[in-house]
């Protein structure tokens, strides 16, 4: 009887399995790339990715998980080198007119899209017009608000006419959100056809994204590996185990995990100063935060060094509104008097503002990111010392974004990417009209400074204006800029020439090779 029972159990199990096999993929060429690669002697770089890409249209999808893939498939007019300077990519050279209102790009000749057609000035014009078209909903639309008209006088020349001089324009053309796309492809989420170093070979949702080398890539000798496979591994413990056992060659890791891996054989940790920073956002329209003295008091009450030590294990730098990775523009934090940790001064400022006994408030943050929660907790402790009792509310990501947009929070802990050009980090985030200014902050002096800086053609003058703007926004304190973390990669010793930097993963990957 028992035998019959078990036999029928197996039978029903196998019936169910075959019933569902229609949905499964069968006989799949990418299934066993290792053995294939071995047969032809080609090289593959396997990268652990923590999220599935959510669409591959470079103009529309800002998600990091998507960005790191389409950045390898597409090129932009320019790119950044490791020092964050703008260097040629699809454009060989460019010229700025004397009044700063005309930018002329000369394109690299003979660049081909993955479908074999040559990339010309028409595609550049099409791409930028697509970005500027409000119906597209492009991420980079606001980057190019100064563009008036785009002309393509011949096959390899593109002319941008600007309404006003725009000092940030050139740096913005380096963004992957400003990728050059072919005009014949209508749905870029379904088809990925670029000029970039890699072509999209296969995408298996929840499992992997396979890219293969573009043999006709216009940069001589690049890329070095024949294929890149992004393996989706959502759990950090799994990524750690995978890099240790050599199943993947490369993965980003947290500061904690980097420490764990230090002693592992065959794995090297590489780090760089990121362009991100954590912040405490303050709603300046809400009582009692509408009093600048209260915001100042919070700044004096916060010990930024303790945050660096506790939250980031020492692997972060103090930062202003520009991350220290923006070496040319960022002011040294010693320039900001309110960065001093001074409880007495904070109490005194609170007393002057009529709140000698402190007050109660709420800090909201995203539950998705442990570093944000820890930051909120450390801040809660530090604020308590001056009599401010903050309750922490952890919000699920979608809910967090709603709160962020609401302009109705009290205090909010978050993380920003400060952007390549200071215009983005300052005007976009803090000018009265800035799209990311959700803090109700408005200071006419600041608005004027950043607008002038945007139109300045002289770099020294521009720098001076931005120095002043940085000091002003730190003093007004609509945000407290807390710490800019290091980012970590764990890299297998099989991989050579991978040097990550804030300029972006793509150039490091293009130069990386894998030992056979």
């Amino acid at each position: 009887m028992k035998k019959r029972f078990i036999a029928s159990l197996f039978l029903s199990a196998s019936l169910l399995l075959t019933a569902c096999s229609g949905g499964g993929s069968s006989a799949d060429p990418a299934k066993n790339p290792d053995s294939q690669a071995g047969a032809t002697g080609s090289t593959q770089l396997v990268i652990a990715a923590d999220q599935d890409p959510v669409g591959l249209d470079p103009h529309k999808v800002p998600a990091v998980s998507s960005n790191r893939i389409y950045s390898l498939v597409y090129d932009s007019l320019t790119k950044l080198d490791d020092n964050m300077s703008v260097v040629p990519a699809l454009a060989d050279s460019w010229k700025l007119s004397d009044d700063g209102k005309t930018v002329t790009f000369k394109l690299h000749e003979g660049v081909k899209f993955h479908n074999g057609r040559e990339m010309t000035s028409d595609d550049v014009k099409y791409s930028f017009e697509r970005i500027l078209n409000p119906d597209t909903g492009a991420v980079a639309k606001s980057y190019f608000s100064s563009v008036d008209a785009i002309e393509a006088p011949d096959k390899y020349t593109v002319v941008f006419k600007l309404k006003t001089p725009d000092a940030a324009f050139l740096a913005n053309t380096a963004s992957a959100y400003a990728s050059i796309v072919p005009k014949e492809v209508t749905d870029l989420n379904k088809e990925a056809v670029g000029t970039g170093p890699f072509e999209l070979e296969k995408m298996e949702s929840g499992q992997y994204v396979l890219l293969k080398k573009n043999p006709n890539y216009f940069v001589e000798g690049m890329p070095k590996v024949d294929s890149i496979k992004f393996q989706i591994m959502k759990d950090e413990a799994e990524r750690l185990a995978a890099i240790r056992t050599g199943k993947v060659d490369l993965t980003t890791v947290s500061a904690d995990s980097a420490k764990l891996l230090e002693s592992s054989k065959n794995v090297t940790i590489k780090n760089y100063q990121s362009m991100e920073y954590s912040y405490l956002g303050i709603n300046v329209a809400k009582k009692p935060f509408d009093d600048p003295r209260v915001r100042q008091a919070i700044s004096y009450a916060v010990d930024r060094n303790q945050l660096v030590q506790t939250v980031w294990k020492g692997q972060a730098a103090l930062t202003g509104p520009l991350s220290p990775a923006q070496t040319i523009w960022a002011l040294d934090t010693t320039e900001y008097p309110s960065y001093e940790h001074n409880v007495e001064k904070a109490k005194q400022l609170l007393a002057e503002a009529g709140l000698p006994n402190g007050f109660n408030t709420v800090i909201e943050t995203a539950s998705t990111y442990p570093d944000m929660i820890e930051t909120a907790q450390v801040l809660q402790q530090q604020l308590k010392a001056v009599g401010i009792n903050a309750e922490i509310k952890q919000l699920e990501w979608g809910n967090y974004i709603e709160t962020w947009k609401s302009k109705d929070m009290d205090l909010l802990v978050g993380r920003n990417t400060s952007g390549v050009d200071p215009d983005r980090s300052l005007r976009f985030f803090f000018s009265s009209e800035g799209s990311a200014n959700v803090w109700n902050y408005s200071n006419a002096k600041f608005d004027e400074l950043v607008q002038k800086a945007l139109e300045a053609t002289d770099q020294t003058e521009r720098k001076k204006l931005y120095d002043e703007a940085q000091k002003l926004v730190v003093e007004d304190a609509p945000n407290l800029f807390l710490a800019s973390p290091q980012n970590f990669y764990a890299v297998s010793d099989k991989v050579e020439g991978f040097t990550p930097s804030a300029a972006g993963e793509v150039y490091a990957l293009v130069k990386a090779s894998v030992k056979k």
Binding site: S12, K31, V139, G398
Partner: protein, 313 residues
Amino acid sequence: MGRYILKRIVSLIPIVFGISVLVFTILHLVPGDPASIMLGTNATPEAVKALRQSMGLDQPLVTQYLHWMGGLMQGDFGVSVHTGQAILPEILKRFAITLQLTLFGAIIGWSIAIPLGILSAVRVHSSVDVLVRVTAMLGISVPNFAIGTLLLLGLSLYFGWFPPIDVVNFWENPVEAFQVFVLPAVTMGIVLAAGVMRMTRSAFLETLDKDFIRTARAKGNNQWTVVIGHALRNSSIPIVTIAGMQIGYLLGGSVIVEQLFSIPGLGQYILDGIYQRDYPVVQGGVLFIALVFVLVNLLVDVIYTWIDPRIKY
């Protein structure tokens, strides 16, 4: 019997309808907006508006619901608002993976649990019984993510072993599929085993006290003939009940285990959908799971009649 099954299947219609309304309203009540989530905090309001429009989210809720239901009637689950991919093929593909994981896990779990449960009941209050009960308690108490992480880290650290990273189906390559699924299945099996073991033990304890068992013994049958031949079938109803519930529950996707071992199963798919407020994905996925759950329950009810012919519907 046939009529009974038919009746049960027909009763699915109001269930599906009810669930669809519930899922739809709850999802849309949750704060958060797919377009803003997709574009992140650096998005301009125009960009969000344009994206919402292209996702069809600017329509009134009732229109959106009717549109979705209209598609469902024709077997069309719609497309993901994020990737534009059709949802039903993705659900089926992922369900196939979840199904393999669940069955593998269940086979491991039950093949430990049922023999041990029987042993524990037969040798009640012996040291074996105590050991089995303590182990079962431990199995229930330790969370599966802890077991899974320990397995994964332990094997990779001390033996340098890591499962193959691409998921393969059993009917394609059984050997590799075995390696892919073995760790998550063991993780799942341990937790399953604990529940089934306790149920088996108590069911057997009750049966072994019955008169017919005493009669069977009195006829001079040996211990194991009595236990397997007479007690097993008479104790199976509660065991099948709990096993059926476990299976139904796990077929909805065991999110934690799937996440830990990067198994692209149904649970992960729906969880990602929730995070991104990918409404059609979550709606379709939950509806599908509900259907599966109901069908598994039906199957269990049918199995009852086979175990105990006295049960008639």
